[in-house]
C-alpha cells in the first residue's frame, strides 16, 4: 500500500460531541484518505454512530475540527455538507417507505438536480439487479437486505467522493451481509470511491478495510491496517470471538 503524503480527504481532529451534558465523543482523531476503505469497529454505544452523525453536522461537535477536502465543515448545516460530495447511508437504512424505489433514487440524486440521473440509474441497477426488478415498488415493501441496498444505491446517486456507511449489516442475514460487503468493495475498486464504514460486524469490516480504527467509550483505542487489527489478540478477544471484555 503506497501511502502518499497527500492531505486526507476527511480529517477529524480532537472532536468532542455531547448530548446535553453527556459526553459521547471524548476527542476523536481520524483520517480518511482518497481511495481508501476506512472501517471503525466498536461495541454498542461506543460512539461510532455519533461520530458518523457529527461528521454530517447533526449533532455538531462542541470542540475540535472536521475538515473535508481542506474545508472546515465542523459548523456547516447538514444539507450543505451533503452538497460537498459526501453521501451517507444512515443507520437503520431510512429509506422513504411510501415512495417507490425509483423515487427514492431520485431523492438521492436531488443534490445534482437529477443532472446525471439516467446514467447513474443504469449504473446503480447494474450493481443491484434486485433493485432494478423493483423500481416501481414501494420501498417499505422491500426486504431488509433490499432496503439496505436501496439506502446505499440512494447514497451513490449523488455521485459522492466520500461514502459514509453506518452499520450496513445491521439485522441482515449472513448471505446478504456478504453481498453488501462485496458491493462496497466493488464500488471502491471500480469507481475509486472513498468509503468510511462503521460496523459492529468486525470480521467482515476488517477484512474489507484498508485501515481501521477501534472505538471504545468515545475514544479511539487502536488503529492500523485491516489485517493488523484482524490478527491483533485484543481485537480478537473483544470483537471477533464473541464475549465482550
Amino acid at each position: 500500500m503506497s501511502m502518499t503524503e497527500k492531505a486526507p480527504l476527511l480529517a477529524v481532529r480532537g472532536v468532542k460531541t455531547y448530548y446535553g451534558n453527556i459526553i459521547a465523543l471524548k476527542g476523536v482523531d481520524i483520517d480518511v484518505h482518497e481511495g481508501e476503505i476506512v472501517t471503525m469497529i466498536g461495541a454498542n454505544g461506543a460512539g461510532k454512530s455519533t461520530l458518523m452523525m457529527t461528521i454530517f453536522g447533526k449533532p455538531q461537535a462542541r470542540e475540535g475540527k472536521i475538515t473535508y477536502d481542506g474545508r472546515d465543515i465542523t459548523r456547516m448545516p447538514t444539507h450543505e455538507i451533503a452538497h460537498l460530495g459526501i453521501a451517507q447511508s444512515p443507520e437503520g437504512r431510512r429509506v422513504f417507505p411510501r415512495m417507490s424505489v425509483f423515487e427514492n433514487l431520485q431523492m438521492g440524486a436531488s443534490v445534482n438536480n437529477l443532472a446525471y440521473f439516467d446514467e447513474d440509474l443504469e449504473k446503480v441497477c447494474a450493481i443491484f439487479p434486485r433493485l432494478k426488478e423493483r423500481l416501481q415498488q414501494r420501498a417499505g415493501t422491500l426486504s431488509g437486505g433490499e432496503q439496505q441496498m436501496l439506502a446505499i444505491a440512494r447514497a451513490l446517486m449523488s455521485r459522492p467522493r466520500l461514502l459514509l456507511l453506518d452499520e450496513p449489516s445491521l439485522g441482515l442475514a449472513p448471505i446478504v451481509v456478504r453481498q453488501i460487503f462485496d458491493v462496497i468493495r466493488e464500488v471502491n475498486r471500480k469507481e475509486g470511491m472513498t468509503v468510511f464504514l462503521v460496523e459492529q460486524n468486525a470480521y467482515h469490516a476488517l477484512k474489507l478495510a484498508t485501515r481501521a480504527y477501534v472505538m471504545v467509550n468515545g475514544l479511539i483505542t487502536m488503529s492500523g491496517s485491516g489485517k493488523e487489527l484482524l490478527s491483533d489478540p485484543q481485537v480478537k478477544a473483544a470483537y471477533l470471538e464473541g464475549g465482550h471484555h
Binding site: 447538514t78 444539507h79 453521501a87 451517507q88 444512515p90 417507505p97 438521492g108 416501481q136 417499505g140 415493501t141
Partner: protein, 471 residues
C-alpha cells in the same frame, strides 16, 4: 351437471357485505341528488322540491344487492378467473384519470343544469348552499392536503389561514382610509367594484406570511406535538379576532363587505349593473352563478398547482420529508425551507378561500373560524385519502353535501314529530362515518397513490403492507 368445484376457498361473506355497503354508500351519495329529489310545480305556479325517499331507497337497495351478488359470483368463480386483475391498472387510477375530466366538465355545466330544472329562485339554494359550499371545502381540503397529505405536517389550525384570508379582505375592503385613498387616486366607484380582485392576491400573500410565521416556531416539532401547537395557533388567531375589538369588531364581526363584481360590473339592479349591461332581467342568481365559477376556478388552480408541485423537486422533497426527515437532511435537502414552503403554500390557498368566503357572505365573524372547521377540513383530507385530490372531492361531497341534505329531510317529521331536526344529528352521523371508515378503509377512500414519476407505464403504488403513519 352442476357440481361443486373441489377444494374451493370459503366465500368471505364479511368482505362481500363490506363491499356491498360501500357501493350502496357511493350510490346514496350519487343518487341522493339525482333521484332523491324532484322539482315540481304547485297550483300557484311555485317550484317545490319533492323528496323521493322510496325511490332512492329502492335504488340504493338494488345497488347493495347487485354488488353483493356480483361479489359472490366472483368469489365462487375465483379459481377460474386466476387473478388477472392484479396486472391491470387499479380501478382507482382509472377513475382518477377519466372521472376527473368528466367531473370538471359536470361542474362547469352544473349551474346551468340546476337553473334549467329548478328555475332562478329555486336554483340559488342548489348552487349556493350546496355547490359553492362544497367547492369551498374542496379548495380548503386541497390546500390542507399540501401540508398534511404531501409534507406530512399535521396541521390542526388550518382554519387560522382561512380566517386571515377572510379578515384581510374584509378589513381592506371596508377600511375608510383605503377607500378614501382609492377614491382620491382612481375615482370613488373604483374600490367597491375592484376591492375583491385586488385583495384576493393580497389575502393569499398575507396568509402565506402567517403560514411562515407559524412554520418557524414549529420547525423542530413533528406529529402530536406539531398538532398541538397548530391547534393552539388556530385558537390564538380566533381569540385575537374576538378580543381585539377595535381591529376586528370582536364578536360583532365585519358586515357590509363589498361583493365581487363581474370584473368591474356590479351585480345590482342599477343601469350599470350586470343584468342591464348584458340585457338580462335582474335576478340575484347571476351573482351566485358567478361566485360559483369564481370558487370553481380558484379550486381548480389549487388542484393544478398541487399536482404540478408534486412533480417538481420541492414536491418530491415534501413527500420525502413526510417519510423521513433525517434521511432528507443527509440527502442534501434543506428541511427548513421545505417545511416553510409547505406551510406557506398551503396557507396561501386557505387565504384565497377565506377571501372568497368573506366576499360571498358579505359578513364575517370569529364564529365562522372555530376549531370544528379545522377538524372538518382535516376530516375531508383524511377520509379522502391523504394526498389524493379526487378523494378530497368525494369526501367534501359526502361531508358537506351530506349535512346540507340532512336539512332537506323534513319529511321525517311525519314519523318523528315536529321537533325532529335531522340536521342536529349530523355530528352523530359524521362520527359514525369516521369510525366505519377507520375500520374499513383506514387510508381513506382513495388510498392508491399515483407515483409522481414512472418508467414505461403508470402503475399504482399499493398501500398494502406498509404501516400507516410513518410507513
Amino acid at each position: 351437471m352442476m357440481m361443486e368445484a373441489p377444494a374451493r376457498e370459503p366465500v368471505n361473506f364479511a368482505g362481500l357485505l363490506k363491499d356491498a355497503v360501500f357501493a350502496a354508500a357511493i350510490a346514496f351519495g350519487l343518487f341522493s341528488l339525482m333521484l332523491g329529489l324532484k322539482t315540481d310545480q304547485t297550483l300557484n305556479n311555485q317550484m317545490v322540491l319533492v323528496p323521493r325517499p322510496g325511490l332512492l331507497a329502492t335504488v340504493v337497495g338494488l345497488v347493495f344487492i347487485g354488488r353483493f351478488l356480483i361479489g359472490y359470483w366472483q368469489a365462487i368463480n375465483a379459481g377460474k378467473i386466476k387473478k388477472r386483475k392484479a396486472a391491470a391498472t387499479p380501478l382507482a387510477l382509472k377513475i382518477e384519470k377519466y372521472g376527473t375530466a368528466a367531473f370538471v366538465g359536470f361542474l362547469f355545466v352544473y349551474p346551468m343544469m340546476v337553473l334549467g330544472t329548478a328555475g332562478p329562485s329555486g336554483a340559488i339554494k342548489w348552487i349556493d348552499n350546496l355547490g359553492i359550499q362544497i367547492l369551498i371545502y374542496i379548495m380548503l381540503g386541497w390546500g390542507l392536503n399540501i401540508v398534511v397529505g404531501l409534507a406530512g405536517l399535521l396541521d390542526l389550525g388550518y382554519v387560522a389561514f382561512y380566517a386571515v384570508g377572510a379578515y384581510s379582505y374584509a378589513l381592506l375592503a371596508t377600511s375608510e382610509p383605503v377607500k378614501e385613498f382609492m377614491a382620491g387616486a382612481v375615482g370613488p366607484t373604483f374600490w367597491p367594484l375592484w376591492a375583491f380582485w385586488i385583495c384576493l392576491p393580497v389575502a393569499g400573500i398575507l396568509a402565506a406570511f402567517w403560514g411562515v410565521l407559524l412554520g418557524f416556531p414549529v420547525l423542530r416539532l413533528r406529529g402530536d406535538y406539531l398538532a398541538i401547537v397548530t391547534l393552539a395557533f388556530g385558537e390564538i388567531i380566533r381569540l385575537v379576532l374576538i378580543n381585539w375589538v377595535e381591529f376586528s369588531g370582536g364578536y360583532a364581526g365585519i358586515s357590509s363587505i363589498p361583493r365581487p363584481s363581474f370584473f368591474g360590473v356590479p351585480f345590482n339592479a342599477t343601469e350599470s349593473g350586470f343584468a342591464a349591461t348584458f340585457g338580462l332581467e335582474f335576478t340575484p342568481i347571476y351573482r351566485t352563478i358567478f361566485l360559483f365559477y369564481v370558487i370553481l376556478i380558484l379550486a381548480l388552480i389549487t388542484a393544478l398547482v398541487s399536482t404540478r408541485l408534486r412533480r417538481l423537486p420541492v414536491g418530491r422533497a415534501w413527500e420525502a420529508l413526510r417519510e423521513d426527515e433525517i434521511a432528507c437532511r443527509s440527502l442534501g435537502i434543506n428541511t427548513v425551507n421545505t417545511k416553510l414552503t409547505a406551510f406557506a403554500i398551503g396557507a396561501m390557498f386557505g387565504g384565497f378561500a377565506g377571501a372568497f368566503f368573506a366576499a360571498r357572505q358579505g359578513f364575517i365573524s370569529p364564529e365562522s373560524f372555530v376549531f370544528l372547521e379545522s377538524a372538518q377540513i382535516l376530516a375531508i383530507v383524511v377520509l379522502g385519502g391523504m394526498g389524493s385530490l379526487l378523494g378530497v372531492v368525494i369526501a367534501s361531497i359526502l361531508l358537506v353535501g351530506g349535512v346540507e341534505l340532512l336539512r332537506e329531510l323534513d319529511f321525517l317529521k311525519a314519523y318523528f314529530g315536529d321537533n325532529f331536526d335531522p340536521a342536529q344529528y349530523r355530528m352523530l352521523i359524521f362520527g359514525a362515518c369516521m369510525v366505519l371508515m377507520m375500520l374499513w378503509k383506514p387510508r381513506g377512500l382513495i388510498s392508491v397513490r399515483e407515483p409522481s414519476v414512472f418508467l414505461k407505464e403508470k402503475k399504482a403504488v399499493s398501500s398494502d403492507l406498509v404501516k400507516e403513519g410513518h410507513g
